[in-house]
Amino acid sequence: MSLRLTASLAGRGVSVDLALASGETLALLGPNGAGKSTVLGMLAGLVRPDEGAAALDGTTLFDLPSTWLAPHRRGVALLAQEALLFPHLTAHGNVAFAARATGLARAAARERADDWLSRTGAEAVAERRPAELSGGQAQRVAIARALAAEPRLTLLDEPLASLDVGVAAELRLTLAEVLADRTAVLVTHDVLDAYLLADRVAVLQEGTVVEQGPTREVLARPRHPFTAEIAGLSLLTGRRTALGIRTDDGLELAGTESEPIGAGMPVTAVIRPSSVGLHPAGSDGIPARVTALEPRDDLVRVRTDRLTALLPAAVVAELRLAPGSPVSLRVAPEDVAIAPD
């Protein structure tokens, strides 16, 4: 089961070219408004592109302008942020919906629903109505409902976004199990989702794919600023020098490369914030100015006009950091990963 999509929709500024092998899960990352939901809509048959084609397993989903398969014929299930469980059916009725809608006998449909409810850990709430379910329970039922349709392609649009962190963590593991051998496209903002659930990632910005590849590669060695942002890394672009990199604005950094690169070639340098040392201004290191502080539990992400550092809150307080404070940054050459651009 392989998926191929090439389509564009001028009205939303989207133009994409994606490929996915059978059984793989692709994480679609990107800022809000990048067009991720539009891509899912095209695959599901709910959004009509201006031009393009998509094929799943050899079946043409659409090939404009001549062919357009209606949503109910595609075998493509869509799971959204909101569970959207049918209010007039019980959880069990919801999960059995696809089977009953395609003509399966009552007994067989019931079995399938029971099976999926237990696989997603929702068998306890089978007889409840959607209004009586918590967010996490509803999402479990929604996952069960989508998969009980035995889709050839599963689409998930930020399925964990509206859940509590703890509930999301549990559900993420459930998703990992049920998506293991399925062809799926998952839209998410969360890098953890990508690492755990996706074999490949594609980064969408302003309607086009700016980077795609196997998950670990892309996220460990981002080539695009937004990818670096999502992966929580700092990304610099510049040219290869003898020691490392000279960035476009003149900063010289020593670094290490994974493969030989000729001097003067365009390169990127990726730096993990936790490996950046921050010191009072004037001391040895790269002069920089703090642009923002983003606290997260007991750590603070300190953004500067050069690199981003990750410091304990106590240190930030001690140094009396605030936007505009001058600081000095240090990073060891082995923590600066240089790669061809």
């Binding site: 109910h72 869509l78 959207l84 049918f86 007039h88 919906f97 809608a101 109505r129 349709a149």
Partner: protein
């Protein structure tokens, strides 16, 4: 967010009645006036009835014929309203097409037309000298009564249902489609079940309107006992010679209408709760 965080917070006392209704007092007064405006005339009529004579007045053959005819035709008209009105409401709510606003206005026309004008319009189409040249022999027949009642009652169902369909939106239908349900399956298993309360209330309104229909029936179908003389027409005739009978029959009509509305409302309540 842990569940233990809130246990120490102060708990609100478990009162079942709120301290205020949330509605200003002068509003209650005006609402009461409105209610009395409707209730007092009905109460006055109840007081006017000669209760000793009541059973005899309402059990005459002409009265019984009229009541049964009214019930038969109104129920048939309501069924026709459902069969025609549900598709109309669906198209008006979900299918964008040019001129939709105009079509909606025309469909709702029977609401504002005086019923007699409705009857004249029906004659203009079905009458012997009408557009169809009397090809359909409906004149002076019971089907003519059903046609007249359906004509005036249809907008109630369409109006009630279209509003509900618009509010419900079509997100559930999109999900159902991705689960493999074709358009007809989506209609019967998702769309309609979600608007059952609106269908019920629309049907009740249509039934009540059909039951009380007078002007169009008189103009289009005529008035013959057991064939076309519905209860309102019977009341109108009884006024000439037996005003007491007219009042008694009016109460029967009111009682039937109240019963239908109460039953349908009662049946609708659990449905409303189910789809909330």
């Amino acid at each position: 967010m842990t569940t233990s965080a809130r246990s120490s917070a102060s708990r609100r006392p478990a009162t079942s009645r709120p301290a205020t209704t949330g509605v200003p007092a002068w509003l209650l007064v005006i609402a009461a006036v409105g209610a009395l405006f409707v209730l007092l005339p009905v109460a006055a009529m109840v007081l006017q009835v000669d209760w000793a004579q009541f059973p005899a007045l309402i059990s005459s053959p002409s009265s019984v014929d009229a009541l049964l005819l009214s019930l038969r035709t109104s129920l048939t008209a309501t069924a026709a309203c459902l069969v025609l009105g549900i598709p109309m409401a669906m198209v008006l709510a979900r299918v964008p097409f040019r001129g939709r606003g105009l079509v909606r206005a025309i469909v709702l026309l029977p609401l504002v037309l005086p019923p007699v004008v409705g009857g004249l319009a029906l004659l203009a189409l079905y009458g012997r000298r009408g557009l169809l040249d009397g090809a359909l022999p409906v004149a002076f027949s019971t089907p003519a009564v059903v046609i007249a009642q359906t004509f005036v009652a249809l907008p109630f169902l369409v109006l009630s249902l279209e509003g509900a369909l618009r509010t419900a939106g079509d997100r559930y239908e999109a999900v159902a489609a991705t689960l493999g349900a074709g358009p007809s399956t989506v209609l019967f298993r998702v769309t309609l079940p979600l608007v059952v309360p609106a269908i019920v209330s629309g049907a009740v309104l249509s039934f009540a309107r059909a039951l009380g229909e007078f002007g169009a029936t008189l103009t289009f179908a005529g008035s013959l006992q057991g064939v076309t003389r519905t209860l309102p027409l019977e009341i109108y005739l009884q006024r000439e010679t037996d005003p007491d009978a007219a009042v008694a029959l009016s109460l029967v009509l009111i009682a039937v209408a109240i019963a239908v509305v109460a039953v349908a409302h009662g049946a609708g309540e659990p449905l409303r709760r189910r789809t909330a």
